[in-house]
Assembly symmetry: C2
Homo-oligomer: 103 residues x 2
């Protein structure tokens, strides 16, 4: 599996709108096992995104999906900054499709 932990900073006052957009844009992404969007309670503009994919190729391919491209284009003006993502190698746990536990 392939994971990402990213802190994004919304443009001032735009966090809620940006999150609504991101939630819509994550509905159809082949190979995406988990994609959790969270507010940062310590930063009014902060958003944490934690992602689990079956592999890096699925993540990379998702960036070319028409729905994702459209979402990113609409989101870009509302994003003030991306912190450098942490890349992880998820090994298991709860909230991942059951089939993955057996692999």
């Amino acid at each position: 599996m392939y994971g990402l932990i990213v802190k994004m900073v919304a443009s001032p006052g735009k966090r809620e709108e940006l999150i609504s957009l991101l939630l819509q844009g994550t509905e159809e992404m082949p190979g995406c096992l988990s994609y959790v969007i969270a507010n940062d309670p310590a930063d009014d503009d902060g958003i944490w995104i934690t992602e689990v994919w079956d592999d890096k190729a699925s993540h990379d391919a998702s960036l070319s999906l028409p729905g994702v491209k459209k979402t990113l284009a609409a989101a870009r003006p509302m994003i003030a900054a991306f912190n450098p993502p942490v890349v992880t190698t998820p090994v298991g746990g709860r909230g991942l499709p059951a089939a993955k536990h057996a692999n």
Copy 2:
């Protein structure tokens, strides 16, 4: 919802054993919506844990569950350090129980 993003550092050579233990210890935790354990590919001893709970009370209560207490006691000698956790307020996404999307 209540979330945590934590980097844990295993004692040298103990990461795999520690992760196996943590995976067993996360099977029965009421209110736990997602609990993903991942290796840090940039740090041989690094482990990332990302958690989503229905609320903070469920997380706090989990620390008193007999199974979790037993796991933590067994894990402690294999943990070299905990980085300060990031607390988040998850708002939605994939990999969370469907009922939570409607709330």
